[in-house]
Symmetry: C2
Subunit: 191 residues, 2 copies
Amino acid sequence: MTTTASAPPVRNGIDTAQVYGTLDVLKAQPEAARFEFRVRNRWIDGTHSRSTIHDFWGAGAEDASRAEPFVLDASEPPVLFGHNEAPNPAEILLHALAGCLTLTIVNVAAARKVNLYEVSSTLTGVLDARGAVGIDDSYRNGFERIDVAFSIRGDAKAEKLQEIVDRAKARSVVYDMVTNGVPVAVDVTTD
Amino acid sequence: MTTTASAPPVRNGIDTAQVYGTLDVLKAQPEAARFEFRVRNRWIDGTHSRSTIHDFWGAGAEDASRAEPFVLDASEPPVLFGHNEAPNPAEILLHALAGCLTLTIVNVAAARKVNLYEVSSTLTGVLDARGAVGIDDSYRNGFERIDVAFSIRGDAKAEKLQEIVDRAKARSVVYDMVTNGVPVAVDVTTD
């Protein structure tokens, strides 16, 4: 009797059997690929606001997996007229980018049978506030550039780990949005 | 003896005297306008990672106003291979956009002597996951579009409130980045 070694279904904390099953579903039922994410935000005072993040549409149905909403705040430090109630929105955007690149690296590594030991990163964004405050339009409002420095260790050669990062850049949802931009429509009700 | 009515220094929770003082500093000392924000992220397991947000450079010095770092997590719901340890990165990007537009609206309203009673918003982002999972390149990875619905009430006419929102769109740091994109450089260390 012979046994064939099968890949462990969970690698890097990712259930690869679930991943491949999901890919089959998305190929067979393209309508399952539509996701709609929602955030509700409410101003509290000064620069301070609060978002609740709970429901979304995905995989052909309203998601019901979250018993409670996530609650995230945003504000500014005193030098930017707030009271440090929370990170500021530019920092939160860097967090979104870090989280997305990291989980995409982990997913890609799992699919390529690479076990990761460490994925850590430092993100830096630089801006000149003369743009956002409106005193010199030769500066944009946002970051001139973002630098991401990853430190990655796993049971693969440096070349393969670099390929995994390159693939993650090509597939990351937030990296796409931050580098390429997204059309944003703003509607206002005032009654 | 006559007294002149002066504008209250704090409006909508914003110290307008501080704002105007800062504008004067930025005009006189342009080097004070450089801000560098930093986020450090570490993979925990599966889709779950954690960012610490603490120090930054701004107004000509390393900021020392935050005694403790902010800690923010990111993950995915089960349908996207996580365990709902935190909101997902695309939702966090919407939160960053909501927080930035909201505080910019509040700042602009304060400068224009408008008292706000309510600023709330719902943000929606739609994507087709066939892009990000790599089975159909005709779909982008990120949101096709983002819709922002604001509800705003204050002691000004609808037209003026709309003008405040328009000005905030023109000055928001994160709205600029999300709509126009930012160059991102990714460096990898694997030893």
